[in-house]
Amino acid sequence: MNAIYWPSVFFLLFGAMACGFALAVLLSANIVRMAFYLVMSLAATAGLFFLAGQEFVGAMQLLIYVGGTLVLLIFGVMLTSQERFVNMKTLAGDWVIGMIAGGALLSLLTAAAFSVPEWRGPERAAVENLPIEPNATPIGMGLLGARVDQIGAPADERAGMAGYLFPFEIVSVHLLVVLIGAAYLARAKRRSNPLPTG
């Protein structure tokens, strides 16, 4: 009997939470409950990110996704939560078609995931004593256009792996445009059904 490998235990915990709450989002009919389950599912995903050594992305997920996007979503749920919209049942026919399509997709994806031997778990001895590398600095430098992780790579390989400065700029402008666009779309136009402005 081998000793328990604690990252695996945490993987099982977070993985079960992510999957379980994702299923709960799907099966629940109450929109507010769905939002709550979604929060838990995405927080568990952040835990999986931490477990994979990507703590910067995990913290980002908590800050932007769980703390920002989902608060916004719940805000929207509250604004539109009249009694008749809180519980909207899915039609039975939709369920049947969805289950068939979803089950087929899920079995396909899972089979594909386990079909490649290199994708199975590494040997315990191989990862147990890996050096710990914080990756916030390489990510930041990558966004500035310098790939510190690729310094050793030969020049012809590095040509294709340029930094992410240009995508970063595009995303910045994109966010600005989206901000203005969302404010324009959501502004109160009609007085017939004014939104509660709390």
Partner: protein, 435 residues
């Protein structure tokens, strides 16, 4: 904790606790890992719970004095210092009410979500620095993590407001959602300024760089950081929903806001969450701006109480550091209490205007100012009057450095677990024993 605690644990587990059963378990094993984790958890929960007891008593005394009365005087002797405990007993014996139309599951779980988020922030907050920092989980991106987790507390409030099936609660929750999401922006921008100066998001590194006299504190680093601190404190006040920003529970308009329908123990969990996050933003301020575990005069290093002079000296020095951090945190909370009982509550539009028209632009300009200061006057501190100590340049995370070298000051969180179930402290202890 430092190696001393680990040695104690080793001794407990190997020689005393289990030897009677014919077992010997070291801290490297599964049981040792779980025990070490539970000790950290117990310490943090106790800090929040006992802290809430003290802060509620403090709030009553301070508000009493501000309003020219005495506050609690009877329970537990002279200053009424057991008043909160008596209140707690009363709350436990109260009937646990739930409104008729409430969403039972969410109504019940909401206070615990707030409380859990409030506690989770303490995981990455160091209470003493040096080579063996007192921190539950040494995160490479500590500042980021704490701010991210602090933003999660709002979920409990929103769910409570919605599931109470009461208009007062819903209004309170909507205000809270709008307010917290807005104030996260200037709060994050303010927290970035010390990160920029330190060159690291690791809170232990940030704290260690402010070693020495109070002139090295980041609040005095340059004019921009000085202003940033006050903006940070304002935004922190708003993000933990303290007056004058406590729109979510404005009792003069919304009865009690989001916790109108709560009673008994669940209500007290909301309160513990509130005081817990007040303490955590104050601790964050003390580590980012006010020197963390370094007092105004570096008594610990003047007396030689550092880890270089042996385990015991390092331990006592860390104890001094812990006192410093907690004192600064308590001062921060006291100032928050003082502000609450001094200033009138803002209107919601004034709250938003404060965030969008004042805090965010000021924080942005101060960020720019700190960048320019660092660029034009590198290596100066105390408003440029003094040369910065060498400790401030101790982190070189330049991109030329190979990744293995940059790992030295920072130990990431969950990855550490892979080293055969060791916590960072145990790894440090093992290394030390190897030396």
């Amino acid at each position: 904790m430092a190696s001393a605690i680990n040695n104690l644990l080793d001794w407990l587990l190997t020689s005393w606790l289990l030897s009677g059963l014919g077992l010997s378990v070291s801290t490297d094993s599964a049981i040792g890992y779980v025990v070490a984790a539970f000790i950290h958890i117990a310490l943090i929960i106790n800090l929040v719970a006992v802290g809430a007891l003290v802060f509620i008593w403090l709030e009553r005394k301070i508000s009493g004095r501000i309003q020219d009365r005495l506050g609690p005087t009877r329970v537990g002797g002279k200053f009424g210092w057991l008043q909160t405990l008596a209140d707690g007993l009363k709350l436990i014996t109260k009937e646990d009410l739930m409104p008729d139309g409430a969403d039972g599951f969410l109504f019940k779980i909401a206070p615990y979500i707030s409380f859990a988020a409030s506690i989770a922030a303490f995981i990455a907050i160091p209470f003493a620095g040096g080579p063996y920092p007192w921190i539950a989980q040494h995160l490479n991106t500590g500042v980021f993590f704490v701010i991210a987790v602090l933003g999660l507390e709002v979920f409990g409030v929103i769910l409570a407001g919605y599931s109470s099936a009461s208009k007062w609660s819903l209004f309170g929750a909507m205000r809270e959602a709008a307010q917290v999401v807005s104030y996260e922006v200037p709060l994050g921008m303010c927290a970035v300024v010390p990160v920029l100066i330190a060159g690291s998001m690791d809170m232990v590194v940030i704290g260690n760089q402010q070693a020495g006299f109070f002139t090295n504190w980041f609040i005095f680093h340059d004019p921009a950081t000085f202003i940033t601190f006050w903006v940070y404190f304002t935004c922190a006040l708003a993000s933990v929903n303290r007056a004058p920003f406590d729109l979510a529970e404005a009792e003069s308009e919304l009865v009690a806001g989001f916790h109108t329908e709560y009673s008994g123990l669940r209500w007290s969990f909301f309160f513990m969450a509130e005081y817990g996050s007040m303490l955590s933003v104050s601790l964050l301020a003390s580590i980012l701006f006010l020197g963390g575990w370094h007092g105004p005069i570096p008594i610990a290093s003047l007396l030689g109480l550092t880890a270089e002079n042996g385990d015991v000296a390092g331990y006592v020095g860390n104890l001094l550091g812990l006192t410093n951090v907690l004192f600064k945190g308590v001062v921060g909370v006291s100032v928050m209490i003082w502000i609450r009982w001094t200033l009138p509550r803002l209107r919601i539009d004034q709250v938003m205007a404060t965030c969008l028209k004042y805090c965010t632009p000021i924080a942005a300009v101060m960020f720019l100012g700190a960048v320019l200061w660092q660029y034009n006057l590198p290596g100066r501190t105390f408003f440029g009057l003094l040369a910065a100590p060498p400790a401030m340049f101790s982190v070189d995370e330049g991109w030329e450095a190979p990744p293995a070298v940059t790992t030295e000051p920072a130990k990431p969180a969950m990855v550490e677990v892979r080293v055969e179930g060791l916590t960072p402290q145990q790894v440090a202890a093992n290394q030390e024993r190897g030396n």
